[in-house]
Amino acid sequence: MADRKNTVTRTFLNGLITENPTFTLMLGMCPTLGVTTAASNGIGMGLATTFVLVCSNLFISLLRKIIPDKVRIPAYIVIIASFVTMVDLFMKAYLPDLSKSLGSYIPLIVVNCIIFARAESFAAKNGPVQSLADGLGMGLGFTASITLLSIVRELFGSGTIFGAQIMPESYQPMDIMNKVPGGFITLGLMMILVNAIKKIIGKRRAARKEALA
């Protein structure tokens, strides 16, 4: 039992950090860049995606022995699209402001490649508990990275974080950060940073191993 718990935690952490969907797998780039002009958008999008990912992973994993291999892609799409429609309608009813600012990116969660990739490469091969953990880890990893990206973009693009003024009044907001080029360039720079951190950690680990040996 302890062993099983261990693998579940590992699957969760794998999604959250080791195989972070944004910085390592480069999946789900459209919402990553499209909605991250304000921190609240980032969190909203991340949580909506996490919900869909967890539910679709669970259901696909439960149905994995029933769905014939040949029609699996349409079958997955229907499952994913149903949950996306639920989220879309829910947000329209209870969070109309957020729904408006996320716009067409909510229905487009259907074609977010993270969800598809996890369905195909994980949920179709593993049990429901593992798939649930994977969905949660990947979803939260995605949420964390797009929130981070949107905080940076909001800070420089409007001088605020979550709507609260951070920069001094005299700060001239960089409008380009709110536009398409700002998104590409910020993500590129953040990726350089993440790669550098990974390299340092890798070197430290190697050094520690050497010291132990």
């Binding site: 860049l33 398409v180 590129g188």
Partner: protein
């Protein structure tokens, strides 16, 4: 005729789905390493988007609206697209094996290309760039075609730049995705310059 001119220039240059609106970024970054493959992907996408805009328009106006099932739009559209991709794949396999081989790998990927779904939805909801006025069947199909050409243009341009980057002496930390992202950012700045064209077009109209 003027409508079509506005759609043509609007979809390819002013509102380019990749460079100005952040749709279809995954294939944009994923298959832009070589010009040949970028062109192949672009052709496959153009084919599917044009057909998909045509069929989703029919589905929306003859099935969903009369039956008051608009809330099923996402499910209906994505199913149409998934089936279409499958049909195109099977048809190409029989009719033109050489083209199938050229596009083979990219065909299934098109299902998860968000440009396809975004174009289909914008056609029936916002009417693309036409000030909230919804488009007719012909204009919708044309709109899809132009959006796909715009996607292909962006993809091929980035692929050309990345091919040159491979051969040049880049700093190590810029190699791969970070470099491609920053290049894409610079391209997007260039595309922002086309924004002024829209006013000019309206003046002509």
């Amino acid at each position: 005729m003027n409508t079509f001119l506005v759609i043509l220039i609007g979809q390819i240059l002013i509102n380019n789905y990749v460079m100005c609106q952040f749709y279809g970024i995954c294939p944009f970054l994923g298959v832009s390493k070589k010009v040949d493959t970028a062109l192949g992907m672009g052709m496959a996408v153009t084919f599917v988007i044009t057909l998909a805009s045509f069929i989703t328009w029919l589905v929306q106006n003859f099935i969903l609206v009369p039956l008051e099932l608009e809330y099923l739009q996402t499910i209906a559209f994505i199913l149409v697209i998934a089936v279409l991709v499958q049909v195109v794949e099977n048809a190409l396999k029989k009719l033109s094996p050489s083209l199938y081989q050229a596009l083979g790998v990219y065909l299934p990927l098109i299902t998860t290309n968000c440009v396809v779904l975004a174009v289909a939805q914008k056609n029936v909801t916002e009417g693309a760039i036409m000030d909230g006025q919804t488009l007719g069947l012909l204009a919708s199909t044309f709109c899809g075609f132009c959006a796909a050409i715009g996607f292909t243009l962006a993809l091929v341009l980035l692929a050309g730049i990345r091919e040159r980057m491979e051969q040049s002496n880049m700093p190590k930390w810029m190699e791969g995705f970070p470099g491609a992202l920053i290049m894409a950012g610079l391209m997007a700045i260039a595309f922002m310059g086309f924004g002024g064209l829209l006013q000019g077009l309206h003046l002509v109209g």
